[in-house]
């Protein structure tokens, strides 16, 4: 087993529903104790064994279930999956923050875990003091910090402010300092959760460089990220989780492909029963990629086509179809099928299909929902809110250094053009 750094065997983590949602108070516990005997009697009368009753499967949710994999020394492995797939739970178990409910894991070597940067930072303490405190929290020895101190300050680009309380720092300065300490963690095994998503573009570049360096040093890295480009760049291997289950484990390209197919499992189309009381009614909606394949998951560079099938019952003056694309409750696009026309045409009765295509490299990565409507300038016939959802992923491009990375401001990828001219 000498070359194995991490061995995960049959790992599972179960949460009671609502466990993290409310505080338990004595009152709950007292009423629980009082009703327990009655529950026992009740279950006895109904012929159930109490243990069965107490552990009804719907009271629990498995955040992680039957996950097994090995990580060799020097290997960089990515953990991918959608929100709530269990990635962070897995990392928390490996970091020893929380215990698994079943199975086990073995870790051979000194572990450093970065679930967030700046853990333990205190706003009243100065940058210098926080470096030592944060270092101690991360398990870096005091003399080690002392030796690396100048390097950390230089990395964070904060020489002038190092004796200022961090509560006076800007968010960027704070994050730079936090990452700088984390970057100097020299453990054999590094568990990292999305901490790269900090700072401005220049600092991002530095962080990616540092991460690449870590990989080259032959240290073992377990890296959880939403950014597929970063995973592809930094990792040799990836594990795909979905709803707590391990779906794929293998080379990065294969696992990313499995992830794309997985995201496609959401219905890429919707059917509606025709409404005979309306002069026109929408029959179906469909999402396709540029190859005409129905999907809900698109690469950032890929075009997205919304197909609307509708029937017109009586000749209509001024029928318009609308598509609204929104992300995080913000409407990004609102478009009529008649936008390119100078005059709104009349529609004869019949079956129609209209395709609306959004080009690639326009929407930033993220989850979008589509609202589709039909009506005339005077009357709205139909309006389907959140009719379809799709996700744009950063598969082909590593966006870490780009202005349109998911976490940065702005709603779309800028169509503007930059041109630098050297004047002197």
């Amino acid at each position: 087993m000498g070359d194995i750094a991490i061995r995960v065997e049959n790992l599972g983590k179960r949460y009671r529903l609502g466990q993290r949602l409310r505080y338990r108070t004595f009152r709950d516990a007292v009423s629980g104790v009082l009703s327990a005997p009655f529950r026992g009697v009740h279950s006895y009368l109904s012929g159930q064994r109490p243990s069965e009753n107490a552990q009804k499967s719907d009271d629990f949710i498995w955040a992680l279930k039957e996950v097994s994999f090995d990580v060799k020394h020097g290997e960089a492995i990515g953990i991918i999956g959608r929100n709530g797939a269990g990635k962070s739970t897995l990392l928390k178990i490996l970091s020893r923050i929380t215990k698994p409910s079943e199975g086990c894991a073995e870790i051979h070597g000194r572990v450093g875990s970065l679930l967030e940067v700046g853990t333990g930072f205190h706003p009243e303490l100065t940058g210098r003091e926080n470096i030592y405190l944060n270092g101690a929290v991360l398990g870096i020895k005091k003399w080690e910090i002392g030796r690396k101190f100048d390097g950390i300050v230089a990395f964070a680009e904060l020489d002038k402010f190092i004796d200022t309380p961090v509560k006076h720092y800007s968010t960027g300065m704070y994050m730079r300092l936090a990452f700088a300490v984390a970057a100097h963690l020299e453990s054999e095994i590094l568990l990292v959760d999305e901490v790269l998503a900090v700072g401005d573009a220049a600092f991002q570049k530095k962080c990616m460089g540092k991460m690449r360096e870590v990989g080259r040093e032959g240290r073992t890295v377990v890296f959880v990220s939403h950014n597929m480009g970063a995973i592809a760049e930094l990792c040799d291997r990836a594990v795909l989780l979905d709803q707590g289950r391990q779906i794929a484990d293998g080379d990065v390209a294969g696992t990313l492909g499995a992830y794309a197919r997985l995201s496609g499992l959401n219905a890429p189309q919707a059917q509606y029963s025709p409404d005979s009381s309306l002069p026109s009614s929408i029959i179906s909606l469909k999402l396709c990629n540029q190859d005409g394949v129905e999907t809900c998951a698109f690469d950032i560079g890929e075009g997205i086509t919304v197909s609307i099938l509708y029937r017109v019952a009586t000749r209509l003056r001024g029928l318009q179809l609308t598509v609204t694309v929104s992300r995080n409750m913000v409407d990004v696009i609102h478009s009529f099928d008649t936008d390119d026309l100078t005059e709104i045409p009349d529609r004869d009765p019949g079956l129609y299909r209209v395709d609306y295509t959004i080009p690639g490299m326009f929407l930033k990565s993220g989850i979008y929902s589509i609202r589709v409507g039909a009506g005339t300038p005077y009357k709205l016939f139909q309006d389907f809110e959140s009719a379809l959802r799709f996700e744009i992923e950063e598969r082909s491009i590593n966006t870490h250094m780009k202005g349109y990375r998911r976490g940065r401001p702005g709603h779309v990828i800028s169509p503007g053009v930059w041109k630098t001219t050297k004047l002197e």
Partner: protein, 290 residues
């Protein structure tokens, strides 16, 4: 609950591998204290104490003066109400110094108890983001109260000089009584900090608890008011021995610690040991429940 001893997870695997091997298993009913691991993390322990002390009086005008003002003004209020109005007996020493000698270890106890009881909830961001032995948190919270105690002690020696009271030859016993107070605060704090994670009622009950405890301890009155046959029972409250010990060693009042001290030390020890094991068992779910 599935058996944790899965056949894949043979605990024997632990033997024969390098020291830095960590085995991660489901929660156990009985968790060893792992004092060695605690010792290896002494650096974060001292950093947490340092942080607590450093931050405590930031953005205050009086700063560390608060460490003196709190027991001092409590002493004045007690002297007026109990000493002057109620004519409480004070074992033949002036009431102010009688009260202050008791308030000094009492404040240490309350401060340490309150800080350690709230420590896990207060350090939620650490608990949910990084691993180190959880015992470090209540331990450092308890210990951070000692500095305030040291500052407030200066006033006591000033008062003794003012009243021309010379400490008895038993003054060397003082550290033992301080240790007893800290051990009691830590033991109870272990129980309460772990309970506080599940039941936030602890936070609400704590001020009430310490207030009741104040009257169960001979602070405003001398323990000579307690009938002799009840003294051993009364001693089950370790703080009564601490307070009486302080008065005995510094002011020469009362009698030599006897059965009462033995009862106190045993009670404190029982609470401490049970608290340690209870905490170790409960800490396995802190990150999920806090």
């Amino acid at each position: 609950m599935k058996d944790s001893q899965d056949k894949d997870c043979d605990p024997l695997r632990e033997t024969g591998v390098a020291m830095s091997t960590v085995l991660i298993k489901p929660p156990q009913d009985w968790v060893p204290l792992e004092l060695k691991e605690l010792w290896e993390h002494r650096e974060i322990f001292s950093f947490l104490i340092w942080r607590d002390i450093k931050v405590r009086y930031k953005q205050t005008i009086l700063g560390a003066g608060w460490a003196v003002l709190q027991p001092f003004f409590t002493m004045i209020v007690f002297s007026i109400i109990f000493g002057w109005l109620a004519r409480m007996p004070s074992d033949g020493v002036p009431y102010p110094i009688f009260a202050y000698t008791a308030l000094l270890p009492w404040q240490l106890f309350v401060r340490s108890l309150t800080a350690s009881s709230n420590s896990i909830v207060a350090n939620e961001s650490l608990i949910t983001k990084v691993y180190f032995p959880r015992l470090v948190i209540p331990l450092s919270a308890t210990a951070a109260g000692v500095l305030d105690f040291a500052i407030a002690s200066v006033v006591l020696f000033g008062m003794m000089a003012y009243y021309h009271i010379v400490p008895t030859s038993a003054v060397w016993m003082l550290p033992l009584f301080v240790l007893l107070a800290i051990a009691t605060a830590f033991g109870v704090g272990l129980w309460l900090s772990a309970l506080n994670v599940q039941y936030r009622d602890v936070g609400h009950a704590l001020p009430f608890l310490t207030q009741m405890w104040l009257f169960a301890t001979p602070i405003v009155y001398p323990s000579s008011l307690i009938p002799e046959q009840w003294l051993a029972l009364y001693g089950l409250n370790p703080m009564s021995s601490v307070v009486e010990g302080f008065r005995w060693a510094l002011l020469g009042t009362g009698s030599k610690p006897g059965p009462m001290l033995i009862a106190s030390a045993s009670a404190a020890f029982a609470v401490l040991i049970s608290g340690l094991y209870y905490f170790r068992k409960m800490e396995q779910t802190f990150a999920d429940a806090v």
